[in-house]
């Protein structure tokens, strides 16, 4: 699906989002870079609290402020920096050129407004449609996302719809203005497995039709394997590995990514216990000076604790943030073995 190497539609450069609280500064997102092209699906994966949702909220500047603040970096959308944009201009981007689907379909829709109105609202605002035209388009959108008898459903309120249907409504709402970028923050986490597959299929399908770039935020590697062209793995506010999906699954470079993949249950092996990664994530209030994964890493060396490695592109285009893949690494054999 990834199109030829034209200019990316969204460029995130050195984005830092920090939370200034009484306990100190929490560096939830601490300098991340990635690009998104038209028609591409980028997966951002990582465990809870690694900063993936904060990243997505930062792009649309929806961080609750205070205490949150974009402390540095740029988010270039078609060359314009969203970080420094005025609130008025930003509003024209939200829901119109960049849309978002949230994790919780049960609570993300306004409980007292008919769902059709919630979709039509964006159309009236951004596309300057009249009341009737916007409503008709809203019904059409509900039909597009596969809701049966959309005319009737449009008049209903969220509590009259099932979870899967609500997520479809969210998608219809997000896509009503045909955005160029769709950010899907764990769109299937709250849904059961059969509905999950349908929703992912739907997003993919609509992406093919509309040609938008999709950022898929998830902690579910199955979702990544199914939908993403490239994957950025986040750990403690950083991207630690960024590669085409098949490369990540076939040959993970970063010890964290390796651990993540090892911890997946394997259907063809008779496992007594699932693999885990020892230790826990460092506190966002007190990040170590060196590599943030160092204390949990099976390959750690002194340098890992001294200085943080950069995200460096390898010969085959895979980017990884690990000393093992630099000239500073002493145990050459490990590097050679891993690159293979």
């Amino acid at each position: 699906m990834m199109t030829e190497n034209n200019k990316p539609i969204l460029e995130v450069k050195g984005l830092k989002t920090h939370f200034f609280t009484k306990r100190g500064v929490s560096k939830a997102v601490d300098g991340i870079d990635f690009n998104l092209h038209k028609g591409e699906t980028l997966g951002i994966v990582g465990e809870s609290g690694c900063g993936k949702s904060i990243t997505s909220l930062s792009i649309l500047r929806l961080i609750p402020s205070p205490p949150g603040k974009i402390a540095g970096g740029q988010v270039l959308f078609k060359g314009k920096d969203l970080v420094t944009m005025s609130e008025d201009e930003m509003r024209k981007v939200r829901g119109n050129e960049i849309s978002m689907i949230f994790q919780e379909p049960m609570t993300s829709l306004n409980p007292v407004l008919p769902v059709g109105e919630q979709i039509a609202e964006a159309l009236r605002m951004h596309q300057k449609m009249g009341r009737k035209a916007a409503w008709e388009k809203a019904v059409e959108m509900l039909k597009l996302v596969g809701i049966p008898s959309p005319e009737k459903r449009a008049k209903q309120e969220p509590f009259q719809l099932s979870g899967g249907m609500r997520q479809r409504v969210m998608i219809a709402m997000a896509l009503a203005c045909t955005p160029e970028v769709l950010i899907a923050d764990e769109p299937t986490t709250a849904l059961d497995v059969t509905i999950q597959a349908q929703i992912l299929e739907l997003i993919k399908d609509l992406q093919n039709k509309l040609g938008m770039g999709v950022i898929m935020i998830t902690h579910d590697l199955g979702v990544v394997a199914e939908t993403c062209d490239t994957v950025a793995v986040m750990y403690a506010g950083n991207i630690i590995e960024h590669a085409p999906t098949e490369k990540i699954f076939a040959n993970p470079r970063h010890p964290y990514t390796q651990g993540l993949l090892d911890s997946l249950p394997k259907i063809h092996e008779d496992q007594e216990e699932l693999q885990t990664i020892e230790g826990s994530v460092p506190s966002p209030y007190n990040m170590p000076a060196g590599c943030r994964f160092a204390t949990r890493c099976p390959h750690q060396q002194p340098i890992c604790h001294e200085q943080q490695p950069e995200l460096i592109e390898q010969n085959d285009g895979v980017k990884v943030r690990c000393w093992m893949y630099t000239d500073h690494w002493t145990a050459k054999s490990v590097k050679e073995e891993a690159v293979k």
Binding site: R91, G95, N96, N110, P111, A122, E157, F159, M173
Partner: protein, 306 residues
């Protein structure tokens, strides 16, 4: 919806019967004999006995009660022991006054309270918020008899821009309505603020922001409608307190309303008048509760109508 209203009206019947029962027997417990009071000081035993006989006060209590109950359902509230006027006539003269007072008071409660609450919630912990909330705290804490007298002192005696007491023009309504509505307004303000702050944190507000909705639209369209649900309940409850408050406010401002009538009748041990007054006040309260319930369902369709 119609079925719901009818069913709710049916439910009020036992409530009303309960009210008559409680009022009737409480008045029996209150010391003082209406026959003695009516006969006047120094009246002979025979006179008192005759009055008692005439009013049926010497019959067994339960008989008196059921007698009263059946007349009430026929629309006969009895006659005043004081001036022999039909109780219903006396009430109907005063009820519109009290309803008018209650209406303006609740208007002040709602408008002032919600406006203050929204102002506070938009910028929480700001100077504006703190000021509004301190004023609201004062509003809750000040007793209405003192607050009423203070208003009277400043606006009527010092500034002389509003009438001191009475009930002739719209100007006469302002001070009593303000006195009566202030406490409720303060409670509504606090409720609106906390409800609004709670709503603003909800996921669907974030969704609205992500859609590019203007902040003012978020507050009024997406926020307020959700925030109003608990506020409506509080307003309904406030109305009960407000009816009780008319007793005090009508006395302070010399308004010839239902509240003052009840107080005067209690003083006179005028049993039929007290019963009638309390009964009508309860009816008003029941009707208002019904309206609140209907509104509540209108704003929150998730509640089943049955």
């Amino acid at each position: 919806m119609l079925m719901f209203i009818v069913r709710r009206l049916m439910q009020t019947i036992p409530v009303i019967i309960g009210v008559t029962f409680v009022v009737f027997f409480i008045m029996q417990l209150v010391p003082g004999d209406p026959a003695v009071l009516l006969a006047g000081e120094g009246a002979s035993k025979e006179t008192i006995e005759a009055i008692r006989e005439q009013l049926g006060l010497n019959r067994p209590l339960l008989v008196q009660y059921f007698d009263y109950l059946t007349s009430v359902f026929r629309g006969d509230f009895g006659v005043s022991l004081k001036n022999s006027q039909p109780v219903l006539d006396e009430i109907l003269v005063r009820l519109p006054i009290t309803i008018e007072l209650a209406f303006f008071s609740i208007l002040i409660t709602i408008v002032l309270g919600m406006a203050a609450g929204i102002i506070s919630a938009i910028k929480p912990y700001s100077l504006k918020d703190t000021t509004v909330m301190i004023v609201a705290l004062l509003g809750i804490s000040l007793p209405s008899f003192w607050f009423g007298l203070m208003l009277m002192y400043f606006f009527s005696v010092k500034l002389q821009i509003l009438p001191v007491a009475g009930w002739d023009s719209i100007l006469h309504v302002i001070l009593p309505a303000l006195t009566l509505g202030a406490g409720g307004a303060a409670i509504v303000a606090r409720m609106t603020r906390s409800s609004m702050l709670d709503v603003i944190r909800q996921d669907y507000i974030r969704t609205a922001r992500a859609k590019g909705v203007r902040e003012s639209v978020i507050i009024y369209k997406h926020g307020l409608r959700n925030a109003l649900i608990p506020v409506i309940t509080v307003v309904g409850l406030q109305f009960g307190a407000l009816l009780g408050g008319t007793v005090i406010v009508e006395s302070i401002f010399a308004i010839n309303g239902l509240g003052r009538m009840i107080v005067d009748s209690i003083r006179m041990r005028d049993l039929p008048m007290v019963q009638g007054g309390v009964l009508v006040a309860s009816l008003v309260f029941v009707v208002v509760n019904l309206i609140v319930d209907v509104l509540y369902r209108f704003f929150n369709k998730r509640i089943e109508l049955n």
